[in-house]
Symmetry: C2
Subunit: 321 residues, 2 copies
C-alpha cells in the first residue's frame, strides 16, 4: 500500500467540529492535581518505559480526564485518570508493535488481567506492576460502583484487552481487516465505552435498562464512540506513519483500500464521517437535555464531555511531530 | 516431553468420587426432547462438520444438560443445551487444532462474537452460522435473564472465547504455560462458570452480591469449577493423545513437567486433586443446604447438579476410543 505515502500528513484535511463541539470545554479544577496524582501512581506502579513517556502520558491523561469529568469530585477524577492511564500504558507497552511481535506473550499477559476481571483477585507471587495496578484499580471501582456498573465496566475492560489483541494480530495483516470489522473494533481499541462507564461511576448516576436501550441513547453513544476512534486515527496518522514507515491500522488506510482513493481523499472522507457523527451526537444531546433534571439528561451531558475530551485531546503534543 | 508416552491412558488411575458424588444423578424428563431440539437447532445453524459429529454432540449435550437442570422447565433446558452446544461446537470447529493453525483468523471470528456480546446485534450481510446462532441465543437469554444475570453470562462467554484463544496460542508452546496459569484458565476453557450462570437463569433465582462474595459460595464454585476441568482432562487424555501424537495441553502434562514425574504418577496426583475438590464441594453443599428454603440452598443444589453433570459426562463415548 505504498500509495498511502507521499502526502504530508500534517497538511491533510481535518474535520471541522466547530458547529457541534465548538469549545472551549469545561475543565475540572483538579486538572493539576490529577497530573500530580497520576505521576505519583506511576511511581507506585511503574507501567511505562522512560520518565519522558510517563510525564507526557500523565499530562495528556490529566488534561483529558479533566474535560471528561469537569464537575466530579477529586476521588472520581483520580480514579478515572488512573484507569485511563493503565489502559494507555498497557497498550503502549504490551500491545501495538511489541504485542504483534509475540502475540502469545500478549495473550498470557491479558490472561492475568482476565483472571482479575473475572473476580479472582488473590495476589500471586509473580504479579507484575501491570497486574498489581489493575487489582488496585478494580478494588477502588468496587468501592464506588453499583454491582451493575462494576459488571459493565469489567465487560468493557475485557473488550479493550481483546481489542488490543485483535490489533496486535492484524498490524502486519491489514489486508485481512474489513471496514465493518474495523468499525466494530475501533471503539474497543480507543477505550471510549470504558471511559463512558467510568464517567457514570464518577458522577454517581445510572440509567435503567430501558433508558440504555432507547434509540436516542444508543445512537448518541455510538456517534461518540465512532467519533472518538476516528478523530484519533486522523490526529495520530502522521505519528503512526513515522514509526518505521509501516502503514498504520487506521481509518484512512482502510478507506484508501476500500474506495481505491488517495490519502488526501481518504482524509477528506474520514473528516466528513467525523463531522456527521459529531452532528448526530449534538442533536441527540440537545434532545435528551430538553428535560434537564432526569438521568437521561445527566447521561447526555456526560457523553458530551466524553466527546469534548476526545475532540480536545487530538491537539495534544502526543500526536504531534 | 516424550516421557508422557508409553503408558496406556485407558488403564491409568482415575479419581474415586463415590463418596462425594455417588450417583445415580437426577435427570430431567426432557432428556430425549433436548436431543431432538438440539438436533433441530443444528439444522437451522449448521455449526459442526459431519452428521456423525453432530449426533454425538447432541447426545452428550442432551444427557449432560438433563443432569445440570433435572427440575427446570422445558424452555430452560433447551436454552442451556443450545448454549452449551454452541460453545462446544465453536471450540471443536474453530478452536483447538484449527485455531492454533491460524490464530489471526480465530481472533477475527471471536471479534464478531465479542461485538454481539457487547450489545451490538444488528445482523451483518456476512454473518456465518456461528454468529447467527449466538445472536439467537443471546436474544433468548435477554428475554429470560435479569439484567445482572445477562451481564454475568456475557462476561463469562467473553472469558470462554478468550480461553479458547489462549489455548490455541499455547497448543504448540506447552513449555510457556505455568501450572498457576493453567489453574486460572481451565474453568474458562471447560465453560463451567457459563453453565453455572445459565443454570441460575434457568432456575430463576439470583444471589445477592453479598451471598455471591461469601467464602462458602466462592469455595463451592471454585471447587466445582476446578473439578469440572480436571476430570475432563483425565477422561479425555487418551483421546487427546490419539490426535497425531501431540502432547495435550492438559493437567497431567503440566503435572509431569512441574513434578518431574511419569504419566501414571501424574494421573494419581490429579485424581487426588479431583477427589479433594469434590470433597470440598460436598462439604459446602451440605453446609449451604442446611436451611433448605433460601437462595443459598437453591444455589448449592444447582452447583451440585453442575458437578454431577461433569462427573457423569466423563463416561460418555465422546471420551472413549
Amino acid at each position: 500500500m505504498s500509495h498511502t505515502r507521499g502526502s504530508d500528513a500534517r497538511t491533510l484535511p481535518m474535520p471541522d467540529l466547530q458547529n457541534s463541539f465548538p469549545g472551549p470545554f469545561a475543565t475540572s479544577p483538579y486538572a493539576n492535581a490529577i497530573e500530580e496524582q497520576t505521576t505519583h501512581w506511576l511511581q507506585t506502579f511503574p507501567l511505562t518505559g522512560s520518565p519522558g513517556e510517563a510525564k507526557a502520558l500523565c499530562n495528556i491523561t490529566a488534561q483529558g480526564v479533566a474535560r471528561v469529568l469537569p464537575t466530579a469530585d477529586q476521588d472520581s477524577v483520580f480514579l478515572c485518570a488512573d484507569l485511563f492511564l493503565w489502559l494507555t500504558a498497557f497498550d503502549d507497552t504490551h500491545g501495538e508493535t511489541e504485542g504483534s511481535r509475540d502475540t502469545t506473550r500478549l495473550v498470557r499477559r491479558i490472561s492475568h488481567c482476565v483472571h482479575l476481571l473475572a473476580g479472582h483477585d488473590e495476589p500471586a507471587a509473580d504479579d507484575d506492576a501491570c497486574v498489581a495496578a489493575l487489582r488496585e484499580l478494580l478494588h477502588r471501582f468496587r468501592e464506588r460502583a453499583t454491582p451493575t456498573q462494576y459488571l459493565r465496566l469489567t465487560a468493557h475492560l475485557r473488550d479493550n484487552l481483546f481489542g488490543i489483541l485483535w490489533e496486535a494480530h492484524h498490524l502486519d495483516r491489514l489486508d485481512q481487516v474489513t471496514l465493518s470489522d474495523y468499525y466494530a473494533m475501533r471503539p474497543h481499541t480507543v477505550f471510549v465505552r470504558t471511559v463512558m462507564t467510568s464517567t457514570e461511576v464518577g458522577l454517581g448516576y445510572e440509567l435503567t435498562d430501558n433508558q440504555r436501550a432507547s434509540p436516542a441513547v444508543r445512537e448518541l453513544e455510538k456517534a461518540v464512540a465512532d467519533l472518538a476512534g476516528w478523530i484519533n486515527d486522523l490526529a495520530s496518522y502522521a505519528k503512526e506513519t513515522d514509526r518505521g514507515g509501516q502503514t498504520p491500522l487506521s481509518l484512512p488506510t482502510l478507506l484508501i483500500r476500500h474506495h481505491e482513493c488517495n490519502l488526501e481523499e481518504a482524509f477528506h472522507l474520514a473528516s466528513r464521517m467525523c463531522e456527521h457523527q459529531a452532528s448526530t451526537a449534538r442533536l441527540r444531546i440537545t434532545e435528551l437535555t430538553a428535560d434537564s433534571t432526569n438521568a437521561l439528561a445527566n447521561h447526555a451531558r456526560a457523553m458530551e464531555a466524553v466527546a469534548a475530551s476526545y475532540v480536545w485531546h487530538i491537539g495534544h503534543a502526543r500526536y504531534k511531530h
